[in-house]
Each structure stands twice: as C-alpha cells, then as structure tokens.
Amino acid sequence: MSRYIVKRLAAAFISMFFLITITFFLMHAIPGGPFSAGERKNLNPKIVEAIRARYGLDQPVWKQYVNYISKLIQGDMGVSYKKTNYTVNELLATGFPVSGQVGILAIVVALILGIPLGIISALKRGSLADMGAMVIATIGISIPTFVIALLLMYVFCMKWPVLPSYGWGGIKYLILPVFCMSLSPMANVTRLTRSSMLEVSRQEYIKTARSKGLPEGVVIFKHMLKNALLPVITYIGPLVAALMTGSFAIERLFMLPGMGRYFVNAVSDRDYTVIMGMTIFYGAFVMLCTLLVDIAYAFIDPRVRITR
C-alpha cells in the first residue's frame, strides 16, 4: 500500500509540473499583461516600464518561467500584482480557511441529505417519495446557484429577516451559503445513489441475501448500500476539491472572504502570480482528493485492493 502511495505521489508530481508549465505559457500567450498600457491609460509609459522591470516582466518569457519555478521550489509564489502588499501565500492562507469551511459543510450536508433521499427513492421506486426526491434533485441541478441564493436572501434576509445576507463571523453567516452550495451536489448524490441502488438491487447476490432470510435492514444496508456507494465515492473526490476551493458566485453574493473570488478576478486582472498560485493549489487539491478516493476504494472494495 505505501509503495502504491509513493508511486501515486510521484505521478502527481509529474502532473503538477505539466500543469504549472502549460498554465504559465498559456497565460503569457494571452495578449496584454497586468500593467499593459490599455489598462492604465493615464500612466506615463516610463513608469509602466519601471513597474514591469520591478516585477521582472520585461525579461523573456522563458527566463520568467525559470525565475518563477526556482522561487516556487523555495515555497514562494510571489506577490500579487493587483492586491498590493499581499503575497499569494497570504491570499491562500486567508482565503482557504473560509472557502474550505463552507465547502466541507456543503459536502457534509449534500451527503447527509442526498444519500438517504437516494436510498428512499430507489427502494420506493415510482412512489410519491421517489417523485418528490427526483423533483428536488432536478431543481437542484437545473436552477443556477445564484438564483437560489438571491431567492433565499429575499426570503430569509428581507421578508423574514432572521439571517445575515453577507459577511463572515459565525454559524449564522454560514447557513445560507452552505445551503446554496450544497444544493447541486446534493441533487447529484441523490440521483447517483438512486440509480446505483436500483442497479445493485437487481444483482444476484441480493437475491441470495434474501434467500438466506436476512432481515430487510441487513439486506439493504449491508448488502446493497455498500456496493451502491462505490460510484458515489468516485464522485465525491473531485467534488471535495471543487467545493473547498470556493465558488465565485456564492462568495461574491454573500461577500465571503474566501478564495473563489480571487480566482476569477485574477484571470481578468492578468494577475499572473495569483493565477499560478490558485491553479497550483487547486490542482494539488484535486490530485490529493483523487488519491484519497482511490485509497478509500481499496478499503471498501477488495477487488481493487493492491496486493504488493
């Protein structure tokens, strides 16, 4: 097992190298730059030249790349070009706790609601409960989060003002963003659990379990659910990475100091160091989550267990 993990980490390292390199050169291939004349019309060209030299942007791209990599190896991701006086490391260190907290709660909510809903609708296929769960799931998938967010704000912050509509501070501030964020993954988890449960319920080994005269609860939770959750776990891996690194729309609407908004702003600002930092962080996170899922898989499913 440990050999497998080392192998996977080595592979992740190589993927990381490609991710960094490709992102770096693609980013520089886009016309314009953080201090290009188009953005600061009133600035004296000489001053712009001085700023570019200050950040090393006047050098050839390959040299900038070498500089960036050598600094990155030392753990320095540079300073932000637009959020002055902040290093990228600082932005991540302040943004990630917020985004991560909202994200992890959203995942927990999605699983706690989604899995039971999926089980119920699979077991009572065609019933009212099933149809209800499917309606919720379809709404969750099809309505954009910002629409839901605005609706919730209208109801819980204006009509019936019990929750704050923006800011960061306590549990109260978490409720609406977490709910909004969990809706679509919850819908997906419900649908995935349902179809997977239906698939498993048709398997021969379920008939075997019933022919043994086992109580229905054992048949459902021991023999069906464990098998049915395998595809759900596969889905959770990348989902964790996506939710924990923040959502631009949610963080913008609820004014959360998370890292989701930096990501989007950095792209339009051509804030090279922030773009790189966010990409590296997100990429590493996705790789980590996928690795964790694969390890979890090996624990649950003996067929994929690594025997070395």
């Binding site: 021969e204 008939k207 075997t208 019933r210 086992l214 003996p302």
Partner: protein, 331 residues
Amino acid sequence: MSEHLLEVQNLRTSFVTGGGIVQAVRGVSMYVDRGEFIGIIGESGCGKSVSMLSVLRLLDDNAAVKADRIEFDGIDLQKQTRKSMRKILGRQIGMIFQDPMTSLNPLYTIGNQLTEPLCYHLKISKADARKEALNMLETVGINEPEKRLKQYPHELSGGMRQRAMIAIAMSCRPKLLIADEPTTALDVTIQAQIMELMAELKTKFTTSTILITHDLGVIASVCSRIMVMYGGKIMEQGTAGDIFYRPRHPYTEGLLRSVPGDGSGPKEKLIPIPGSPPDLMNPPAGCPFAARCKKAMKICGLAMPGLVDVAEGHKCACWLLYSRASGNREV
C-alpha cells in the same frame, strides 16, 4: 395435511411489464417428498425458475403469484408474512443460484457471508458460527477452509464459489434445497463434481432437493423424479426411467433427441426442435407446444389437455394419449 414436504397446487405467476402481462407460470402442481431429489427441466423461459421463486416469494414486486395451495412442512406459505417467511428462508429452505460469479456479494468475505444465516437463524455466537462455517466448508469439499473464510469471492474459482454457495445454503441444515441451474455456469468437469456433492449432501443431511436445469445430462444421474416444463406448464412427469426411456410427450421426445446422446459415433445427428417457445404475453389457448409439434392435431391448438396417468407415477399432458385421438399409438 399431507405427507409431502412441499406441495404446490395450481400455481400461477404473472408479471406486469411495460408491454403487457406475461403469464410465466400457468397452473403448475407438484410435490416433493422428504429426502427426495427431483428435477425440473425445460428450456430457458419456460417458467421453471419462476415457479420456484414464486413458492419462496423471492420475486420482484411486479409479480403476481396465485395458487390453490402452497404448503411446506405443514405450513401454508401463502399465509406467511414477509417477516415469518424470512424465518423459513435460509433456515428450512436453502437456495443455490445459477452463476456463482454473481450470487456472492463481492465486498464481503466467504466467512462473513457463510456465518450470516447461522447467526440470524440459529442465534449462535460469532465464534460458534465460525466453527460451524469451517465445518461446512470442509463438508462441501473446500480445501484450506481456514484460509477460504478470509477470502473474497473473486479470489475463488467458479467451482469453489459454487461450493461455498452450497455451504451457505446448507449451513442451517434446511429441509429443502432448491438449486436453480447450479452447474450451468461451470465447466463440465466441475459440473459433475458439484452434482456429486449435491447427491452426497442429500444423503448425508436427508435434505429434499429440487434441481432446476435445462441440462438433461445433469438431471439423469441424480433425480428420482423429473418434471418437464414448457410454456409455463408441466408437460410430463415421471421417474428418470420414464422420462429417459419411455417418454410419452412429443416435447420430451424432442428434448431427448436434441442432446448428444449415447455416443453412436461421429455421424450421430442432433435433431433440433424447430421453432421457438410461445409468447407468454399471449399464450396459446391449446397446448403451448402445438406450434412446434410434428404430431399436432386440430384439437392441440384449441384446448390444453390435462395430465393423464400413463403408468404408476408417470403423467403426461398430450392429446395423443386420449383414446379418441386419431394419431394415437396405444392406451
């Protein structure tokens, strides 16, 4: 109250499907005596598995099962609730399925799946169940039982898995074992071993066994009584000798001719039965085999004959056996 272990009278099972109602079993009556090994034979889709699953109520919710009587060991199975039925399944009646590749749960060890019914039905401790499981694995001829208990189904060969499956079904010493095509998915050499094992266990534990199969070779050596099913009905039933040497129904005759037989040389010809089984969504009014039967008469398409005694314990449902039939040979 009958002396039979299992008695089924006029069993009818239908499924509601998107395309209509499929009448899978249409009036099957049968019985099994204590310690008896009987066989049900027929081609795919003739209702042989469904009739047994109906008796055990293991069918999906879209199945409707009706019968005049289903009695097991003096208990009316139709009157059982789901809960009381579970006390009988696995305890009094064991079941083995066709494909050992899929009939064991891939995520649990053999030991886990084998001790499950023991713990639930016999209420014994985990340690005792484990001891019994080891004992059972040895009985079904699995070597290194200690090691096998900790293994997962995918680590065992097909034959081994089917042995494990038999061990599970037999673990609580059921009075009746229903084996649904237990050898179909296995190699021929393994098939013989499994059949031998089942015959052995039947003698050892005096378990009655119902063997469902479409393989005549499998059924010949072990079954004392055989039922031939076609189109959801029993066409002929009798001892193995009756069915193999004195078949009276054209369908049974056809079945026997379509099997590679006595080794009468490389030139031996297999004679297939032309046509295909009837559509059970619109079953024919008469004999379901009439459309494929060479000896079919006018009446065969109009009405289904009842089972007629042709000899002691040998029954056959064919119009040819009725004395007024023109193509009749004897009787």
